[in-house]
């Protein structure tokens, strides 16, 4: 009996201390080495203080983790932080607490979380083109950008040399790309050009880069009644050009996502437009010298290029948690936004630095000199201030709209439809999806 009482006395303070650590569930979709880095970040944060413990959990790919989060939320079991891909932004925003108390919301906007945590939070310290995607019409940040990338242009120096082209001269306009492609094909290359993420690069970013709208209402930022307009003359011209290249054998279609990157680093296609985050993959596998340069633009468009928009994911916070948890989350976000942390993340993964300070730090460290081309992505996003057409895209059911675009483009490449037909059909089908989203979220 005495032993028992002694044990209880000793155990009590331990129990009290155990209760003091607040667990923060962080669901993410980072696989392989990236997943390890996320775990590493969480570990470092946990070691740096003893009040909060971030528990990173891999929850499948972006689709699966989002569905898991929705199932959990519906059952009253939501995580604290969840990584959601950029196309899920509209869905998350529609469910966010806009402070008016009007509707039942399941998402807590980041600016509120930071305020609740008493953390210093200056939205202006974030790179505008990156944070604008996740900012509402009142300029308030709703989610924290985490892993963002933007499309850039890669080309094979050795193949250029073989074709008699100057390997240090990157093609700036699409016409120049066409001229280079002709020479590359003439020198015996299997294919001259390919593109990854065709919808994101050749339509969404293409529109922003040339300051033409992808959809009305500021690409959906200003209202759910937006309509798609990416079947404008400029976009049709671009797709028609690519279709022509495909017929000539200059452009080879490699898949909807990042599969085409393999065509580039295997040496098959000499030029590639794809995500800036592919740098690591390409560097590891390419057996030739390559260059990263800005995305080409169409010379006839005045004022081009504007700026590119991001892809990737951001961190959202769910509602209904205890104040202690929000404090911890705010602290974690501050940790993540620290210049040294962001600079390291940017340099190791190839994702964009989300704060200006991180970019400056990386520049100071001489990273861009030792890794030429890795600042192209940042420069593309910071040289001009975003316009209504280049802030980003906020459309409902965007996952399905991208699939529709992919399907219609495939019809163009396989010769079944003309560029105009395909884009018109994509717009029609996409608008249907937008109407359904609008109805469901009234």
């Amino acid at each position: 009996m005495k032993l028992r009482r002694l044990f209880l006395l000793l155990a009590l303070p331990l129990a009290a201390q155990a209760q003091a650590v607040t667990d923060i569930q962080f669901w993410h979709s980072m696989t392989g080495a990236l997943g390890d880095r996320v775990s590493n970040l969480a570990e470092r944060f946990n070691k740096s203080q003893k009040d909060y413990r971030v528990v990173p959990v891999f929850k499948g790919n972006y689709d699966e983790s989002m569905a898991a989060m929705i199932a959990a939320t519906r059952a009253g079991n939501a995580p604290d932080i969840i990584q959601v891909f950029e196309v899920g932004t509209a869905t998350m925003m529609a469910a966010t607490d806009d402070g008016s108390g009007k509707k039942k919301s399941v998402v807590k906007p980041v600016y509120e979380v930071m305020a609740m945590g008493g953390e210093k939070f200056d939205p202006k310290s974030y790179v505008p083109a990156v944070s604008s995607y996740y900012t509402d019409s009142k300029g308030r940040m709703l989610s924290l950008p985490f892993n963002s990338s933007t499309p850039v242009f890669y080309y094979n120096k050795d193949a250029f040399k073989k074709a008699g082209l100057d390997p240090n001269k990157a093609p700036k306009t699409w016409d120049e790309v066409g001229i280079d492609a002709a020479k590359l094909k003439a020198s015996g290359a299997a294919c001259a050009f390919t593109t990854g993420w065709q919808s994101w690069v050749q339509l969404e970013n293409f529109s922003a880069w040339h300051n033409v709208p992808f959809a009305t209402r500021g690409n959906g930022f200003d209202g759910m009644d937006a309509k798609l307009v990416f079947n404008g003359p400029l976009q049709v011209k671009q797709i028609a050009m690519l279709a022509d290249w495909h017929k000539k054998g200059w452009f080879t279609y490699g898949g909807r996502k990042n599969e085409p990157e393999a065509k580039f680093f295997s040496g098959e296609c000499a030029m590639l437009t794809s995500s800036s985050a592919a740098y690591g993959n390409i560097a590891q596998n390419a057996k030739f010298a390559f260059v990263v340069s800005p995305l080409p633009y169409r010379a006839e468009v005045k004022g081009a290029p504007q700026n590119t928009i991001i892809g990737g994911a951001s961190l959202w916070v769910m509602a209904g948690k205890k104040p202690a948890e929000y404090k911890g989350i705010a602290k974690f976000f501050t940790f993540l936004s620290r210049p040294e942390i962001q600079a390291e993340w940017h340099q190791q993964t190839g994702y964009l630095p989300i704060t200006k300070a991180a970019y400056e730090l990386t520049k100071k460290q001489g990273f861009y000199k030792t890794h030429p081309g890795t600042d192209v992505s940042v420069l593309q996003m910071t040289e001009k201030t975003p316009t209504a057409n280049s802030r980003g895209i906020r459309l409902g059911n965007f996952v399905q709209i991208r699939d529709v675009i992919d399907e219609e483009l495939e019809a163009v490449w396989s010769g079944k439809k003309t560029a105009k037909q395909a884009l018109d059909d994509a717009v029609a089908r996409g608008n249907e999806l937008l109407r359904r989203f609008q109805m469901a979220n009234r």
Binding site: A94, V106, R256, E268, S414, R436, N441
Partner: protein
């Protein structure tokens, strides 16, 4: 399906079915009912804004010309998978039953594909048929001059998923065919042989009829498999592309519901899909089971 002999008991049968019925009601009927009820609703992803819309989802569905296309793709795909899966497996099982040497080895090797997770199977086949680095695509190009590009050729894409699906199903069917074959009393076959019946006559006269209950089981199960469980393969290999050439009904359900988070729309599609498969199953029980010899 009538047996002459029955046991009499007031309470025993209920007790015997109780565990399965309980699990079925709790973990299937109840959630499935909710899922189907959602076909009459339109809601946002989180369920915070729910509206009753009656048959609106169904109307939207049938207005979509691509839905009919999806149905055609599914029927073609399922027919190919069932026929090839059952045919190849039956041939292999009959052969394996006949040989004595190495029977165990053949059996283990032929069941191995079933052990591969469906998602991984899709990836493996994609790997082999990848237009650039795939070993089979390479062989086709350099050996036969046949250009394989399932990224743009819809017919080839369909073939790819048929191969991947059949590959897994052959193992499954093989296992059950073999079990069925091995429970046929050897004495029957010996008697027929003594009477002068050759192997082919023995097969069609004795083996096949005695195998018919297994065959019926596998026919129904294969059809259900082709309609429902092939989602993972399509997702890993073609994602419904190119241009919806491999967009099966179940893939559409998953895309719209799970990825697109349109629960009302996907629930409506599930209702239609469920009705279709129930109809096919009832037809099979009514007309095909008649020819099964128990």
């Amino acid at each position: 399906m009538e047996k002459r002999v029955r046991f009499r008991s007031r309470w025993l049968p209920y007790l015997l079915v109780a565990p399965q019925i309980a699990v079925t009601l709790l973990f299937f009927i109840w959630p499935a009912g909710q899922a189907l009820w959602q076909s009459l609703l339109m809601q946002d992803a989180f369920g915070t804004n729910v509206q009753f819309v009656g048959l609106e989802n169904f109307r939207d569905l049938f207005r979509d010309p691509l839905y009919l296309h999806s149905l055609q793709v599914t029927l073609l795909f399922s027919a190919l998978v069932a026929v090839l899966g059952l045919g190849i497996a039956l041939v292999l099982a009959v052969m394996a039953d006949r040989v004595r040497i190495g029977a165990g080895l053949y059996k283990t090797l032929l069941i191995w594909p079933y052990a591969v997770a469906p998602a991984l199977a899709g990836v493996l086949w994609l790997f082999m048929f990848n237009p650039d680095i795939g070993i089979v695509a390479y062989a086709l190009q350099h050996g036969f001059g046949y250009h394989w590009d399932h990224l743009l050729n819809g017919g080839q894409a369909l073939l790819l998923i048929v191969f991947a699906a059949v590959w897994k199903q052959v193992s499954y069917n093989f296992l059950f065919f073999l079990a069925g074959l091995q429970s046929i009393p050897k004495s029957l076959l010996e008697a027929a042989a003594i009477d002068g019946a050759g192997p082919v006559r023995r097969f069609f006269g004795i083996t096949l009829p005695l195998l018919s209950p297994t065959l019926f089981f596998l026919l129904v199960v294969n059809m259900v498999y082709a309609f429902f469980d092939t989602f993972a393969i399509v997702d890993a290999a073609t994602q419904g592309g190119p241009s919806q050439a491999t967009e099966t009904l179940v893939y559409k359900v998953f895309e719209d519901g799970f990825r697109g988070l349109d629960l009302g729309g996907s629930a409506a599609q599930s209702v239609v899909l469920m009705a279709l498969v129930i109809a096919l199953t009832v037809l099979q029980f009514k007309y095909v089971e008649r020819r099964v010899q128990y």
